[in-house]
Symmetry: C2
Subunit: 110 residues, 2 copies
DNA sequence: TATTCATATCGAATTTTATAGATTTGAGGC
DNA sequence: GCCTCAAATCTATAAAATTCGATATGAATA
């Protein structure tokens, strides 16, 4: 269940429209908080909270330089999230299918 | 922002450890609620609520047959989520980069 | 048709999240 | 050293999510 907690933490971080848009903005490259804030009608403290969530999930990294904090995507975390979705589409390599968990319906298995 | 609301709704549905695990279970193929319930320590009403969320997000489809409800992944929705993550890694094709939104840092742009 | 079984829905309690204003921290500039 | 500015943190509040017991629904069946 721990592995799912890890996935869930990342997806939860992406599970807010503003954070999803922030992440998309960061796909263009590193951005400072001030630039991100410009694009939203949101208080500075609220943005800071969202960035903290994104960083704590591991999906985004923050780099402090002088007065500013620059944010960017963590390629590894993006890759892990992608691989989860990939694993979901190709049942063969699924983590869970071998686990006596699969059935084709209740009728056949009870 | 609407497009991000749509993505966020899906990611929010995946943003719970139990739901992430349920989705992984469904990667093996269709399952009925009773089979899923067996794998969790969770009341029936709670599972029903989780399945409703997953279905409302579009990520999972439910098929009622007699007394049972069978759940399976919606391939299109999985594909859309994947494409969001793909778009995030390859900045070139990003939805948002053209939007005068990119900068390489505050210093250069102010 | 009365009963049973699988799910869904309702209602309520608890926890978590989103938000903003006020304050703090820490770097730079005067 | 004092002021300014960017960002984080604290505090409070309102909204949303999680959970479960109880109840309703609806199909199969005796």
């Amino acid at each position: 269940m721990d592995r799912y907690l890890e996935y869930a933490t990342v997806f939860k971080a992406l599970g807010d429209p503003k954070r999803a848009m922030i992440v998309d903005m960061l796909s263009c490259g590193e951005l400072c908080a001030c630039k991100i804030l410009e694009k939203f009608e949101m208080s500075q403290s609220t943005l800071s909270h969202h960035m903290k969530l994104l960083c704590e999930s591991g999906f985004v990294r923050g780099r402090e330089q002088g007065k500013w904090t620059y944010y960017s995507l963590d390629a590894d975390a993006v890759g892990r999230a992608k691989r989860f979705l990939d694993g979901i589409t190709s049942a063969e390599e699924s983590r869970i299918c071998e686990d006596a968990m699969c059935c084709k319906g209740c009728d056949e298995n009870e």
